[in-house]
């Protein structure tokens, strides 16, 4: 396998403080250099991305007095993909008095991540979670409340306490609107300059430091250079490498990948989360998959017919002919087992030929019992908008007929490698939110991405970036700086190439084929043979792309095909690295399931002696061997155990 990569020196997180875990964040904040308020306005920060992680950081750094320039590819910062999160956000408030605590949230997250995340980071995330809820309520986020006027909570995927705060099925929307409004307030105050419909296409590195970006104005096609003392990427996840996913159509890896090519290490790219409750594919025109919030698993029961090819209307299948397989296999957690387990179990029953719906790729999620127990109005109040959404998409009424669901790609735990300060391996380049790799290990628990995005943006980055900025302002740069010129030229050349190939396949046709390869070989279950095949096929397809893609129109106009082409080009390179990472990790952990590494009853089997590390990859050249740097993981607080949800 070593022909696919080279092993380099191990790396360490130099910023992680030592000592008792509860004191580490305080310690780091105390040791970080501060910037005097009067000096802040002389320091500038570029923030790419306006999702929870980006908007919160831009607002907070703007409030602190830094000069912030913010970018997003949509027409408004409010449309970042965080808007689509449905279920909720975790926080260790223990408002329920049900035994929750910062330590328990920490413990659950480390265990849920299958012992592939850093204890220090996760502990900090749990500590900060408490402040996030306070902050959001103060901004006017209308969380669900009880009749007494206090906040309501629910329990969410894989945990036994109620610590999830929610705003009906639109939690991400409400949190993002809160952050967006705080951001717009700073735009009005003049501390944040906002560039919408701008896509970052290159990072500018000068003297080893991240000093700016090259962006394309998506309306005029103008290639611009922007400079700052530090650059923050909050550009979200790369699930769209699979073409079909629950991500928004524009979600991409370009910003991260461009930074990776400039020297930022990419960590654990193969860790992807496949969400168990999505609406199944209905045809080959399908452009995206829609998630049904996993909160549905609190009251819905998942089942398939006991026998394959049972063609009866589900309502007519009697209890004794149904297999509530999650309740049967995992009696303690039942329908609430973590996502990776629920997803693989669904795949298994479908592989056995017991799947339902078109192509046999679906399982039932049934609310008949819940409606009997709680009454229809209560079910409606809790899940009404999700049921409506389901009905709109499928044309079926889930109050009457059980929903059909199937797993879909949802979240990427991997991302750019960052230290405890959220700084990447390029000084001055910080990465927040789903774009970094830091807190979820090999599997993310439900309602923890929103928590992480806001933790990073409101509370972590604003307390760490100052340590770096305190040495600024750095030398003034402009578009004639050689590194900037070179970066802008490279962007122009790539665009020219894409427009001049004039082949005969559309960008989407390439993207779909790439996605299928990834789903088949680097999806829910992976094995050596398949991954090797995938790498070969990705390389062939990438070559064909650069010979045969067809992108019409010009650069100097709104050109959506051109935008997509650039993103798909980067997905090809990422896809190869994902497969190499998946291949080298000859163990199963969290969302990464290697068929060769399972227990007797088919559960993921980790190999801690060999693989308890973060795999941080260094870019060399397209199609050439990347270099693997291992960051060893140590567990001082949570004892490493094989996960068991039995």
């Amino acid at each position: 396998m070593t022909e696919l990569f080279i092993e380099g020196d191990p790396i360490r997180d130099e910023k992680a403080p030592e000592g008792p875990i509860e004191e580490r964040w305080d310690k780091r904040r105390f040791s970080a250099k501060l910037v005097n308020p009067a000096n802040r306005r002389k320091l500038s920060v570029i923030i790419v991305g306006t999702g929870l992680a980006g908007a919160s950081a831009a607002a907070t750094l703007g409030e602190a007095g830094y000069q912030v320039t913010s970018f997003c590819y949509q027409d408004s910062p409010r449309r970042a993909h965080s808007i689509a999160a449905q279920g909720g956000i975790n926080a260790a408030k223990n408002y329920r008095n049900d035994g929750d605590s910062i330590y328990r949230l920490f413990y659950d997250t480390v265990k849920g991540g299958d012992f592939r995340s850093r204890e220090s980071n996760v502990y900090r995330l749990s500590q900060v979670s408490v402040e996030i809820i306070d902050q959001c309520v103060a901004q006017g986020v209308p969380f669900a409340r009880e009749y007494g006027g206090l906040l309501d909570n629910r329990s969410f995927g894989g945990v036994q306490v109620s610590r999830t705060f929610y705003a009906r099925g639109q939690t991400g929307q409400q949190l993002l609107i809160g952050a967006y409004q705080a951001l717009e307030r700073q735009v009005a105050a003049g501390t944040v300059q906002m560039h919408t419909r701008h896509e970052m296409l290159e990072l500018i590195v000068v003297d080893g430091k991240a000093r700016g970006i090259v962006a394309r104005d998506m309306v005029t096609g103008e290639i611009q250079t922007h400079f700052a003392d530090a650059v923050v990427l909050a550009t979200g996840g790369y699930g769209n490498v699979f073409y079909l996913s629950t991500n928004a159509m524009g979600c991409n890896v370009t910003a991260s990948w461009r930074a990776h090519r400039k020297g930022a290490l990419f960590a654990n790219p193969c860790y992807t989360q496949i969400h168990p409750t999505c609406i199944p594919v209905s045809g080959d025109y399908q452009s995206k998959l829609t998630l049904m919030s996993e909160s549905l698993r609190n009251d819905g029961r998942i089942w398939v017919p006991k026998k394959g090819d049972d063609k009866r209307d589900p309502r007519e299948i009697p209890e004794e002919d149904r297999d509530y397989y999650l309740e049967r296999l995992y009696p303690a957690f039942g329908n609430l087992v973590p996502r990776d387990i629920a997803s693989r179990a669904a795949k298994n029953v479908c592989d056995e030929g017991r799947g339902v719906g078109p192509g046999g790729l679906g399982v039932y999620l049934d609310f008949a019992d819940a409606i009997k127990r709680m009454g229809r109005p209560a079910v409606e109040a809790k899940y009404g908008n999700l049921f409506d959404m389901y009905q709109r998409i499928t044309g079926e009424n889930p109050y009457e007929v059980p929903m059909r669901i199937y797993p879909a790609v949802h979240y990427t735990m991997g991302g750019l490698w960052v230290d405890y300060d959220l700084q990447s391996s390029i000084p001055g380049l910080f990465v927040t939110g789903e774009a970094n790799f830091s807190d979820h290990g090999a599997n993310r628990l439900g309602a923890s991405a929103l928590m992480q995005g806001l933790a990073d943006g409101y509370f972590v980055l604003p307390n760490t970036i100052n340590d770096y900025l305190a040495d600024g302002p750095f030398e003034k740069l402009d578009e004639d700086t050689p590194e900037a010129k070179e970066a802008a030229e490279a962007v122009r050349a790539r665009i020219d190439t894409l427009l001049s190939i004039k082949g005969d396949r559309t960008v989407d046709s390439f993207h779909k084929e790439l996605g299928q390869i990834m789903w088949d070989y680097c999806g829910m279950e992976r094995n050596e043979e398949g991954l090797r095949k995938a790498i070969d096929r990705i390389r062939e397809l990438r070559d064909e792309f650069w010979r045969n893609v067809k992108v019409l129109g010009e650069n100097d106009e709104l050109n959506q095909a051109l935008e997509k082409a650039g993103r798909v080009a980067d997905f090809f390179e990422l896809a190869e690295l994902m497969c190499i990472d998946a291949l080298h990790r000859r163990e199963s952990c969290g969302g990464h399931f290697r068929a060769e590494s399972q227990t007797e009853d088919g559960e993921a089997l980790r190999h801690d002696d060999e693989f308890a590390y973060v795999a941080a990859w260094e870019f060399t050249e397209t199609g050439e061997q990347p270099v693997l740097h291992k960051e060893p993981l140590e567990y001082e607080y949570v004892e490493m155990k094989q996960r068991s949800y039995k």
Partner: protein
């Protein structure tokens, strides 16, 4: 099914624009409207014709990016977003007209894409609660009656799509503005800035060339999030209160 589309094509902001007719064959009733446009664009590309530009992102009805006027109705026949409209709402042989939002405040960028940045500027004028990071009291320090919280939530579900403006004969942005005024005005945290907020947001609204509101109600009829018309009454009450107190800036 087979569909005939009449689509607005406009190269850029200053181009005149025109309707162009296309045929789309083998449309499945389970396709979303945007997936049908994807199919059209694949076909146009292979025929060396510029694909139709339209805004979209989440395709789940929540980001507010999508939105076109279909047969004269903003977001089409089903009170939902364009991305959540499915072809089962149409019939074989239909001729469907597709146009961009038309409003002075929303200039066309290309084809079906318009510039809605005026909405962001209305928010900048006061659509927020000033709560700098780190200053918040415990979330339970101030209980909020459930009915108020629910009403705030209902108003806060506005996705900023702009259909209300496209539907309004005056191209008014009042429902959007009122939704925000209501969301923040229903919450105790929103009270200190309440009087200034409504005046500042309305001033910005007028500066952006949105028309005035004459209570026609077309906005609420097309709003995919069901923002009720009575938010506009609340806005008007807040405005009167604000003017009476003389506290607005």
């Amino acid at each position: 099914m087979n569909i005939t589309l009449r689509v607005w094509r406009q190269k850029g902001r200053d181009d005149k624009g025109r309707m162009v007719t296309y045929k789309v064959e083998d449309v499945s009733p389970d396709m979303s409207f945007l997936e049908m446009l994807d199919v059209l664009n694949e076909k146009l590309t292979l025929e060396d014709e510029d694909p139709v530009a339209f805004d979209h992102d989440c395709r789940e009805g929540i980001c507010g990016a999508c939105g076109v006027v279909i047969d004269g109705v903003a977001h089409g026949p089903e009170t939902t977003t364009t991305c959540q409209l499915h072809m089962r709402s149409f019939s074989d042989g239909d001729v469907i007209t597709v146009e961009p939002w038309r409003a002075k405040a929303f200039p066309v960028v290309k084809d079906l894409v318009v510039d809605r940045s005026a909405f962001d500027r209305i928010i900048q004028a006061g659509g927020y609660i000033s709560a700098p990071t780190g200053t918040a009291p415990d979330a339970h320090a101030m209980p909020v009656p459930k009915t108020d919280a629910d009403r705030a939530f209902d108003a806060a579900t506005c996705i900023g799509c702009g259909a209300c403006v496209a539907a309004c004969p005056n191209a008014s942005g009042m429902l959007f503005t009122a939704a925000k005024v209501t969301h923040l005005g229903m919450l105790p945290q929103g009270q200190p800035e309440r009087e200034a907020r409504v005046v500042n947001m309305l001033n910005q609204h007028d500066e952006e060339d949105f028309g005035g509101c004459t209570n026609i109600g077309e906005c609420a009829a097309v709003c995919p999030k069901g923002i009720p018309l009575d938010t506009i009454s609340q806005l008007n009450r807040d405005l009167l209160g604000s003017l009476a107190s003389g506290k607005a800036e």
